[in-house]
Subunit: 257 residues, 2 copies
Amino acid sequence: MVAKPLSVCENPAPKEASKIIEEAISRRKALIIIGSCWVDYHGRASSSLELGERILMIKEDGSLLVHRSVGYEPVNWQPPGCIFQTGVTGDVLSIRALRRKPREALKIYFDKIYLVSALSLADEGKFSLHASEEDMQKAILAQPSLVEKGLKLITYEKKVEPGFVDVYGVDEDGRMVIIEIKRKTAGREAALQLARYADSVKKSTTREVRGILVAPKVARGVQKLLTALGLDFKQLDPRKCAEILGRSETKGLREFL
Amino acid sequence: MVAKPLSVCENPAPKEASKIIEEAISRRKALIIIGSCWVDYHGRASSSLELGERILMIKEDGSLLVHRSVGYEPVNWQPPGCIFQTGVTGDVLSIRALRRKPREALKIYFDKIYLVSALSLADEGKFSLHASEEDMQKAILAQPSLVEKGLKLITYEKKVEPGFVDVYGVDEDGRMVIIEIKRKTAGREAALQLARYADSVKKSTTREVRGILVAPKVARGVQKLLTALGLDFKQLDPRKCAEILGRSETKGLREFL
DNA sequence: GAGTGGATTTCGCAT
DNA sequence: ATGCGAAGTCCACTC
């Protein structure tokens, strides 16, 4: 028999809420607390949030999220690894989440608590993600012709002076090729970064060096910038790369690596 | 009298859960659903998440978060603006969150539902944050001597070729000064970016040009890089800037702006 | 432990 | 709409 996945307590008194919360934290349970609160944060920056109704989530790893009724992001939070302290002063429940490295403190004060729920979530499910920049790189390694006919790859993530080159190879005319991969629209930064890499490589070889920006699209004006910098552009969709990997992942790539 | 801030339903049947969820979404309420589910996502990338117990949050603005029992970040999500569809197939409740621009779809399938809670959160509280890069810029504008004695500022957010210079001025010897501000440890990128801007400005003037990197700290090796590039560094803490703004925000800054 | 760069980044601002 | 850069970014990975 499995432990009950959750307990629910509506409209608890502050003392009762505090008891549930401390118990849950000590037993490594997750918590959801809904109520009216204000929040102060001091650490890498400082912030204050005035009174309002919010959702507080405390997780098993000691992370904490304060969510408003709108927005993808929490308005306040604490990354994993917090130490928690709770206290009751009058009718106010306070929760402190402290972190070292960096030293930062988040304090929440509830003047009304509508719900406290302690959770024991059983979750062993695997998460898998496709069509990342890494997938694009793998697809290109498995099938260099995606970038250019006759292209031969030498190394990947080759380290040159100021940073990394995503992929590094030789074209059919024997020129060195540096490839910068972006999984979404490439902006000015990507072009300038590639130009820097290319310059850096040029300094260390007498051979001709080409830079190719691989991305699904370039931002407005960047094509012109690429031309001015003497760089090439090859359009490539990350989703197409994911498809290619799905079909041929076991073929060429393993050999290459 | 205010509306009841939340309703709670434990262990609902799929049909019942579906009804509550649709009702809540149509009334622009937020939702918390806890249960055992699997998740598929297709859009900017693709992902799949196997069966496990999680917390689903749907917000009033049509954003959606799937949280596991650990981690600051949601394992799956959808930004604000979704359209939702629910359905029941056998004992499975499905929730679809669709988005245009970009076109992406997230599908959640619950085979067990422990809790459904619909929330009407009243939250008008102001959020304020201090010690951002913007605060550093404001502090420098209000008090240029923070960077250097005798420094006179001309403008800020000045457009130069590849981007924007944070602050732009003249030092006590009449040399042009461009300032790049970082609120935390400045890395190689910051130094190279400033160098690019400095080069760009040098090309458009015959006057001497200095670049100053303002940050609480520079990363290892970056000081050497700055020297090599002929750039200066001025240590400045964002928290000190926030203090200065707190004391003197109404003094020099308003005049400058 | 620090540094570096990607992310389904999100978010806000300016063009 | 698109582009661009900051973020208390978080996160994984390398040195």
